[in-house]
C-alpha cells in the first residue's frame, strides 16, 4: 500500500490546480451538507424541545364522559341547554403511579390536580390555572428549581409559586399574599414564595403551583386527582407508551404529545426528507466531480501508468493508485468541508440573533452526522475513482511505451 499511496500522492501533487479545484468542490459540497444538516437538525430539535422539553410527553386523564344536559330553559322563542361533562378525576391513581414507576422507559411521573379560577389583587382579577403537584415529581418535568428566578421553590401549606408574567402583572414579590378564587366558589389567601420562568409567556402568566394536598382541599377532590403527567426517555415513543397505559387500565385516557402535535411532526418529516434529497444530490455532484477529474487524470498519466506496468506493477495495484487518489480527495475534502460547515454553523449562530440577542435557535453539531458525512464523501470518492481505476488497469503498457 505504501508504494501505491506514494505514487497516488505524487500524482495528486503534480496536478496542483486540478487537485485544488476538485478539493474545493468537495469542500463546498460537504460544508453545505454539514451546515444544512446541522441547521435543520438544530431547528427540529429546538422545535421538539420547545414542544416537549418541559412538558409532559404522555398525560393520563380520566375517561371522557359524554356531556349530559344539566339545565334546560325553555320559553316561547328559545331553548337554552347547559351541558356539563363529568368533573370526576382518576380514582386509582396510586396504583397507576406505581405501575408507571416500574416501567423502564418512563422517566418522570407527576400526579397533578388542576383547577381554574382567578387571582385577585386590588382591582386586578386575572384568570389562572392552579396546579397541585408534588414538587420533586413535577420538578422532573418542568425543572421548576432550575427555572426559579426569584424566591424559593416552597409549596408547603399555603405557599405557592407563580410565573414571572403573573408576578409582574400583579406586582408580586416573594413574601406577598395573593387571594385565589376557584371557579367552584372557594376562596383563600396564599403566600407567594417563588417566581418561575418556564420559557412560555402563556404558562408564566397563568400557572400557579401549590401542593397537591392543598389543591385537593381547595377543589374538593378528596382522593382523586385530575391527571398524571409522564415523561419518557424516547420522546418519539409517546404513542406506544400511551397505548400501553390505556391497554393496562380501564376508565382512563392517555394522550401523547405526538398525537396532539400531528401537524408539527408532519412538517418536521417533510423538512427532513427535503433536506435528505438536497444532501443526496450534493453527494452525487461531488461524486461526479471526483470521477471526471480522475478520468481525465488517467488519460494524463497514461504514460506513467504504462511505465509502472512495464517495470512490473500489477494491474490491481495500478487500480489501487487511483482508488487511493479518490480516497485522499474524498477524505481531505470532506474533513475540510466538515470543518468549514461547522464554521458556517457557528457563524450562523453568531450573526443571526433574535431581538433579545439570543441565537434564533441553537445549532447542534452532531459528531455522528459529521462522521457519516465524511465516510459517505470518502466512499463516494473511492466509488468515483473505481471507473478510472478500472480503465487504468486495462491500459496496455506496450502501446503507451512505444507511442511516447
Amino acid at each position: 500500500m505504501w508504494f501505491e499511496f506514494k505514487v497516488a500522492w505524487r500524482f495528486l501533487k503534480s496536478g496542483k490546480t486540478q487537485t485544488l479545484l476538485i478539493l474545493l468542490g468537495i469542500i463546498v459540497g460537504v460544508s453545505v451538507q454539514v451546515f444544512l444538516g446541522s441547521l435543520i437538525g438544530g431547528l427540529q430539535q429546538d422545535l421538539v424541545n420547545q414542544t416537549v422539553g418541559t412538558s409532559p410527553h404522555v398525560t393520563i386523564l380520566p375517561e371522557n364522559e359524554i356531556p349530559r344536559p344539566l339545565v334546560v330553559n325553555e320559553d316561547k322563542y328559545s331553548r337554552v341547554i347547559t351541558f356539563a361533562s363529568s368533573t370526576s378525576g382518576i380514582n386509582r391513581w396510586r396504583e397507576i403511579e406505581e405501575y408507571l414507576n416500574e416501567e423502564e422507559q418512563i422517566t418522570e411521573v407527576s400526579p397533578t390536580i388542576d383547577g381554574s379560577g382567578f387571582a385577585v389583587r386590588g382591582q386586578k382579577n386575572l384568570q389562572v390555572v392552579m396546579r397541585g403537584i408534588e414538587l420533586d415529581k413535577a420538578d422532573g418535568i418542568y425543572n421548576i428549581n432550575e427555572n426559579l428566578v426569584n424566591g424559593q421553590a416552597d409549596i408547603g401549606g399555603n405557599n405557592i409559586i407563580i410565573g414571572t408574567e403573573l408576578a409582574n402583572e400583579l406586582e408580586l414579590q416573594p413574601g406577598d399574599t395573593l387571594k385565589l378564587n376557584t371557579s367552584g366558589g372557594v376562596s383563600d389567601r396564599f403566600i407567594v414564595r417563588g417566581i418561575f420562568d418556564l420559557g412560555s409567556k402563556e404558562l408564566n402568566s397563568s400557572w400557579i403551583f401549590m401542593s397537591i394536598r392543598r389543591a385537593s382541599t381547595l377543589f374538593n377532590f378528596s382522593d382523586q386527582i385530575s391527571n398524571i403527567e409522564v415523561q419518557i426517555s424516547d420522546v418519539f415513543a409517546s404513542d406506544q407508551v400511551a397505548d400501553q397505559i390505556m391497554n393496562r387500565f380501564n376508565n382512563i385516557n392517555a394522550e401523547s404529545w405526538q398525537r396532539n402535535n400531528q401537524q408539527l411532526l408532519t412538517a418536521l418529516q417533510s423538512q427532513s426528507s427535503s433536506s435528505l434529497i438536497i444532501q443526496i444530490f450534493v453527494i452525487i455532484a461531488v461524486t461526479l466531480g471526483i470521477a471526471s477529474v480522475l478520468a481525465v487524470s488517467v488519460v494524463q498519466k497514461s504514460r506513467q501508468i504504462g511505465i509502472l506496468k512495464a517495470m512490473g506493477t500489477k494491474r490491481k495495484r495500478v487500480g489501487i493508485i487511483f482508488l487511493i487518489q479518490g480516497a485522499i480527495l474524498g477524505l481531505t475534502g470532506s474533513i475540510l468541508g466538515a470543518l468549514s460547515g461547522i464554521g458556517l454553523s457557528q457563524a450562523f449562530v453568531t450573526f443571526t440573533r433574535g431581538a433579545t440577542g439570543d441565537p434564533l435557535f441553537p445549532i447542534t453539531i452532531n459528531p455522528t452526522f459529521i462522521l457519516i458525512s465524511i465516510v459517505i464523501a470518502t466512499s463516494a470518492g473511492m466509488i468515483a475513482a473505481s471507473i478510472p481505476a478500472r480503465n487504468s488497469a486495462k491500459l496496455n503498457p506496450i502501446e503507451v511505451i512505444h507511442n511516447a
Partner: protein
C-alpha cells in the same frame, strides 16, 4: 556459456478478424553476458520481438525461455512479477516518472517489488546514480534534468533490481551523437563489469556496429545473425544491415 534467452518458433499474430502475422517463427538463442543488437526497418517486427523477449506480451505460438524459465505461459500478473525481478528496461524516451526525483525513479522497480529494506535500497540507488555519473543530482526532479541526464537515470533504474537481462529500445534515439556515444559506452561498461546481458533494439547502424552480435530482422524473420568485433566498428559499419539501408532509403543515419 548457458543461454540467457532461447526462443522456439515464435509467432505473433495481431488482430482477431483481420489477422496480421508480424513474426513468422523466430528461433533465437542469446548467451549470458552477450551484448547484441537487433536492427531492422520500422514495421519489421523488431519492437514486437522486444515486447515478447521483455515479457511485456505473450506470443501467439512458440516458446520463450528466459534464464531457464518458460515465460510464454504466464498470465499478466505473473509476467509483471517476472519483469520486475529479471528484466531492466531502457526506453527511447527515457520514460521516467516526472513526479519523482532521480533517486526515487531509480528506486521505483524496488518499490514495485515491495522490497523490505528501504535504507539499503536507497544506498544502492545512490551508488547507481554515482555509477552513471549523476552524483549530486539525486534529489533533483526529473523535469530539471537534460536529455542525456534523464537517459542516465533510466539506465541506473534498469539496474536497480540487479536484473540479468537489460532490454534497451532505441536508448539513444532521442539524443545527439556525442551523448549517444556516452550512453552507449556506459551500457558497455556495465555489461563488462556486471556481466549483464544486453539487447539493444536500434535502427542506428553506428550503434549496431559497436555490439558483439547483430541480428537483422526484416519482415518478421531473422534475415541475418552474425558476430561483430566491436574493436573494428568502422570496418563493420559498411557491413551492418546494408539491406536495411537499401530498404529505408532516406532513413539512413545522419
Amino acid at each position: 556459456m548457458p543461454n540467457m534467452i532461447e526462443t522456439k518458433n515464435l509467432i505473433k499474430v495481431y488482430g482477431k478478424e483481420v489477422k496480421n502475422e508480424v513474426l513468422h517463427g523466430i528461433n533465437l538463442e542469446i548467451k549470458k553476458g552477450e551484448f547484441s543488437s537487433i536492427i531492422g526497418p520500422s514495421g519489421s517486427g523488431k519492437s514486437t520481438l522486444l515486447n515478447l523477449l521483455g515479457a511485456l506480451d505473450n506470443p501467439t505460438e512458440g516458446e520463450i525461455y528466459l534464464n531457464g524459465s518458460q515465460i510464454n505461459k504466464l498470465d499478466d500478473d505473473q509476467l509483471a512479477d517476472f519483469r520486475n525481478k529479471n528484466i531492466g528496461f531502457v526506453f527511447q524516451f527515457h520514460h521516467l516518472l516526472p513526479e519523482f526525483t532521480s533517486v526515487e525513479n531509480v528506486m521505483m522497480p524496488n518499490w514495485i517489488g515491495d522490497s523490505n529494506n528501504p535504507d539499503q535500497d536507497e544506498n544502492r540507488a545512490m551508488e547507481l546514480l554515482d555509477l552513471v555519473g549523476l552524483k549530486g543530482f539525486e534529489n533533483k526532479l526529473i523535469t530539471k534534468l537534460s536529455g542525456g541526464q534523464k537517459q542516465r537515470v533510466a539506465v541506473a533504474r534498469s539496474l536497480m533490481n540487479k536484473p540479468e537481462l537489460i532490454l534497451a529500445d532505441e536508448p539513444t534515439g532521442n539524443l545527439d551523437t556525442e551523448t549517444s556515444t556516452k550512453i552507449y559506452d556506459l551500457l558497455r561498461d556495465i555489461n563488462k563489469e556486471l556481466d549483464t546481458t544486453f539487447i539493444v533494439v536500434t535502427h542506428d547502424r553506428h550503434i549496431a556496429s559497436k555490439t558483439d552480435r547483430v541480428i537483422e530482422i526484416i519482415d518478421g524473420r531473422i534475415d541475418k545473425d552474425y558476430l561483430n568485433s566491436p574493436e573494428h566498428e568502422y570496418d563493420n559499419f559498411e557491413n551492418v544491415a546494408p539491406k536495411y539501408c537499401f530498404l529505408c532509403g532516406e532513413n539512413v543515419i545522419k
